[in-house]
Amino acid sequence: MLTALIALPALTAAVLALVPADNRAALRTVAMAGALATFAVSLVVLVRFVPQAGFQMRESAPWIPQWGIGYRLGIDGVSLFLVVLTAFVMPLIILAAWEQTTRVKGFFASLLALEATLIGVFVALDLLLFYLFFEIMLVPMYALIGIWGGANRRYAAIKFFLYTLVGGFLMLVAILYLYFQPGGGTFAYEPLLDVARNLGRTEQTLLFLCFFAAFAIKVPLFPVHTWLPDAHTEAPTAGSVILAAVMLKIGGYGFLRFSLPMFPDATSRLAPIILALGVIGVLYGALVAMMQRDIKKLVAYSSVAHLGFVVIGVFALHPTGASGSVVQMVNHGLSTGALFLLIGFLYDRTHSRLIADYSGLMRAVPVFGGLFLFTVMSSVALPGLNGFVGEFPILLGSYQTAPWAAVLAAFGVIFAAIYLLWAYQRMFHGPVEGRSVGLADLNVREIAVMVPLVLLMLGIGLYPKPIYDRVNPSVDAIVGQARAGADLPDIAAVGEGDE
């Protein structure tokens, strides 16, 4: 089942290589079919998923048994929705890029290859396999930014590549170190978990920092965030969307999957510093976003702020906050992905991302304006929409263990309103001027891209229970383990022992 999730997009990418490069219709149909098939499989996974802790739908096959490397897959509440999200946004991205004209073949092939590696990262239960997916992913993404990107694409692509590579190598060193410990000799997740937990304090801390470097860069956490605005801005719409929607989530996912369970002691001792970085991310990202002239850059910095919340939720070591973080990752994927899609639609028409180039869009293109406002509201965490049901538990949970972080981060809520609404006002309100004149409103295809996103944003906002039901057990277990490992008192969850 999980193999199919990886193989389908990978195979589709291979099939695309066989289609003649000038047959645009065939290329996009094949790509769409592959993405839809993957999405269908992910839905089956979602339905079959049993809401309980631990890994499910495990698959295991020896790969290089001499070195203890196996093809080991599994899924739990933390990865489930990230996988589904990946499979969900891909058809939308392909639909949004339906009219792509330059190097169509390579474009769609890169996208699908990217999807395969992203899903691979989330379901791999072998550290080497995880590392492989983690690094291979860079290649299609590098291509997407470097080939189909904007004016400054080379700089952005190389910056993105180098940043992630540095973190990745540090992680590889840590993985190999674990492998060569007594009790190691395998790259399987669970045995290495025990190995890591039995290490001395100094070793734990150093290894934690190695893993942390890889994930902090992905998140991205202040001060290693500067690759993100450039990558986001220069990437084509599809690249920005997938970057925001899925790729950044690897950071938060990695924290929950590796940092907390493997190094509970180091986690709890370094948590205050990381929380501080998260808070700085929230406030700093928001303030810097306020000053951006390029709407795409603004949204990129808003990602820094939003994912700061995720980091806070994880490292507050409170089950409510951590569950909120997982949901927030999904939500951020939806709302920021939607924002990038919308900006992409606008860019397709005018080829400008400068806020100052627009005025009165709400009047000029009301459907676009309405959808944009809806998405903005989701992004500023308006209750009733999805952003809130992630952010609120994060803050509430964090307050119980780290009040100062929650209180400071709560001010990020004000800043989010300021920078997004200010930008919205400058672009959408006022008389119709500049490039807004004579714009065409969204067409049916573009609306079709947005409708599923809007429905999900509203649906999750009103009824997030199905998601939380599946996320909670896994997160409770992870946080419980981490707290136990760090000798912190347990926090009981409601509902336990009820029925």
Binding site: K159, L162, P223, T226, W227, Y284, L287, V288, M290, M291, Q292, H318, P319, T320, G321, S323, V327, M362, R363, G370, M377, L382, P383, G384, F388, V389, F392, P393, L395, L396, G397, Y399, P403, A406, V407, A410, F411, V413, I414, A417, I418, L421, Q425, H429, G430, V432, L462, Y463, P464, K465, Y468, D469, N472, D476, V479, I491, A492, A493, V494, G495
Partner: protein, 651 residues
């Protein structure tokens, strides 16, 4: 603790929370917000094809809501006094870790009273808007937003936990944003909308943090868990922190010092919006919140006193500013701020019934006054300067007479609704130890209220028709019946609303008893009759003075000097905020942005440049000549062989 508090604590709210019987109106109360919400969604999606029908769909949705609310009210009345607090769970909403929040409605006397106000006044304003907004190019959108607002406000009122209340709280903020910026083509209107949203958000952060503290202390966010017996569960410090934080939230939403600055600007919205959202309902949400949480406040009455003082100062300052304003709606806006101050005095000193009573009567007469102002603007082609009006009594008698009722009611003329509610608030302030200065300030503000409202009425409806000189082509006429009918109904409510609670022990008091906990003192500082006489005298004096001055003496706008000039400019508060908050904030943001670009990214880039530089040095070795590479290989091989032989590793 005074004996009064103890006595009241026995009948504390939320001691008997019943599950709503299946099929009873209380169990269907969740439909009350859902109906307008669905209508709003429908109108947003398909409204454009419907044209004028859209408005009537919205009105119908409100009518259904109002009917349901009344049905619920009748049901509650049929229940015994002590069994009038019902909850009904629709679904679990959020469950994460130890947090659990349900979509649950709370039907009790307080929420029902609010519900009735929101639905009925809302219905009237919907009807009014059918006429007022006629011909606007975004007609159907307006009604969609109004419906959405009504739905949000009802969520706020019906929520059974702090979090569900907060949902409504934020959603009304959104609607307020959408409606203030309804004519967003004007940049200043759009700015006003954003300002309202942001200032509200500042308050909301207080509310958010309050919820964190509450959850930390009680492990729950539902009213039933938190409010049934708060004194036994938390210390005074925690209670004080919660109450202060809640007040920050309330001050944002209900436009109290220091967060009132958004409300006068909010008049950029269409007038029905000002009437519904920025006078009758949304801005009173803060008062509702404080009344709802009265058991918490009862544990720390000193904090309540702080609230009362803030309310009193707000009432006075806003009243002074209102005296010098020249915009027909801004006068009313500052008046709203001032009247909200009164409500906070009420809930602050611990007489929630009086606070809520004033909330209701103010809902009637302020909605009436705003709608009347809208009617005037409608007739005068959207002029708003009161000095360009005058003499409209003969032209639009219905508007003028209903306005007169509103003016007299707000001025506290005996036996009209405002008289009773204001009087009860001030009496409670008089009876509470340490609150006598509040009574004095409140009395002064009452006189000023009478003065500026009379001034408003005189300048608009009496005297010479100044508009005729400015624009002779103008032919004002009375508004259509969809607009005058709500005026008449609201005028009746403003006149007779006092009957709800003609004395502090009146019907409203008994009705609200299961919901709120009174903790005001009961030792009269001076005789009540004397006190009432003073307040009435202040009001009448204000009316008489304004009526005399603005018909005989001051027939020209006052020069902008001295106190009047300062008040005209609202004491430069906006300028103060601009220089103390906005500009430093922007400066910091700009500094951070530069730091990000030059500092962090500069470091990264110079790292990159360093590496490239090193590369450009070493690449000189790569000449591109194959044969020189071969030579290098040979030299290398010879050297290695020599080393191996030399070190004796290979014999």
């Amino acid at each position: 603790m005074s004996p009064v508090v103890l006595a009241a604590a026995e009948a504390a709210p939320f001691h008997d929370v019943l599950a709503a019987p299946a099929g009873s109106p209380a169990s269907l109360a969740w439909l009350i917000p859902v109906v307008p919400a669905l209508s709003a969604g429908f109108l947003l999606l398909f409204g454009r094809r419907l044209g004028a029908v859209a408005a009537w769909i919205a009105v119908a949705a409100m009518a259904v809501s109002a009917g349901l609310a009344t049905w619920v009210f009748a049901f509650l009345q049929s229940q015994p006094d002590e069994g009038r607090v019902f909850v009904h769970t629709v679904a679990t909403w959020l469950e994460a870790g130890d947090l659990r929040v349900d979509w649950e409605v709370l039907v009790d006397p307080l929420s029902t009273a609010m519900m009735l106000l929101v639905t009925w006044v809302g219905l009237l304003i919907h009807v009014y808007s059918v006429g007022y907004m006629h011909g606007d190019e975004r007609y159907e959108r307006f009604f969609a937003y109004l419906n959405l607002f009504a739905a949000s406000m009802l969520v706020l009122v019906l929520g059974s936990s702090f979090l569900t209340l907060f949902v409504g709280w934020e959603l009304v903020g959104l609607c307020s944003y959408l409606l203030i910026g309804f004519w967003f083509e004007r940049r200043d209107y759009a700015t006003a909308a954003k300002k309202a949203f942001v200032v509200n958000r500042i308050g909301d952060v207080g509310f958010l943090i309050a919820m964190f503290v509450i959850f930390g202390a009680f492990g729950s966010l539902t009213f039933a868990d938190v409010l049934s017996e708060p004194a036994g569960m938390i210390g005074a410090g925690t209670a004080a922190a919660i109450c202060l934080l809640l007040f920050v939230g309330a001050a944002g939403k209900s436009a109290q010092i220091p967060l009132y600055v958004w409300l006068p600007d909010a008049m950029a919205g269409p007038t029905p919006v000002s009437a519904l959202i920025h006078a009758a309902t949304m801005v009173t949400a803060g008062v509702y919140l404080l009344a709802r949480t009265s058991p918490l406040w009862a544990t720390v009455p000193e904090i309540g006193l702080i609230v009362a003082y803030v309310g009193a100062i707000t009432a006075l300052v806003a009243a002074i500013i209102a005296c010098a304003q020249n915009d027909i709606k801004k006068i009313l806006a500052y008046s709203t701020v001032s009247q909200l101050g009164y409500m906070f005095i009420g809930v602050g000193v611990g007489d929630q019934v009086a606070g809520v009573f004033h909330l209701l009567t103010h809902g009637f007469f302020k909605a009436l006054l705003f709608l009347a102002a809208g009617s005037v603007m409608h007739a005068l082609a959207n002029r708003t300067n009161v000095w360009e009006m005058g003499g409209l009594l003969r032209v639009m008698p219905v508007t003028a007479i209903t306005s007169a009722v509103g003016v007299l009611a707000i001025s506290g003329v005996p036996f009209l609704s405002g008289f009773f509610s204001k009087e009860e608030i001030l009496v409670s302030a008089l009876d509470t130890p340490g609150a006598f200065p509040i009574w004095l300030i409140g009395g002064l503000a009452a006189g000023l209220t009478a003065f500026y409202m009379t001034r408003w009425f005189v300048l608009v409806f009496l005297g010479a028709p100044r508009w005729a000189q400015i624009e002779p082509a103008l032919h004002p006429h009375e508004s259509p019946v969809t607009m005058t009918l709500p005026l008449v109904v609201l005028a009746a409510a403003s006149a007779f609303g006092g009957l709800l609670n003609p004395n502090p022990d009146g019907p409203l008091h008994h009705w609200l008893e299961p919901s709120v906990l009174r903790f005001a003192g009961d030792e009269a500082f001076i005789d009540h009759t004397l006190a009432a006489g003073i307040i009435i005298a202040a009001g009448l004096l204000g009316i008489a003075f304004a009526a005399f001055a603005y018909t005989r003496r001051w027939t020209q706008p006052a020069p902008a000097i001295g106190l009047s000039g300062a008040a005209q400019r609202a004491f430069w508060v906006d300028t103060f905020y601009e220089w103390s908050v906005m500009r430093p904030g922007l400066f910091i943001a700009r500094a951070f942005e530069a730091f990000d670009r030059r500092g962090i990214d500069g470091l990264v880039n110079s790292l990159g440049r360093g590496t490239t530089g090193l590369g450009s040095v070493t690449r000189r070795l790569q000449t591109g000549f194959v044969r020189s590479y071969a030579l290098a290989v040979l030299v290398g091989a010879v050297l290695v062989t020599a080393m191996l032989l030399g070190t004796g590793l290979v014999r």
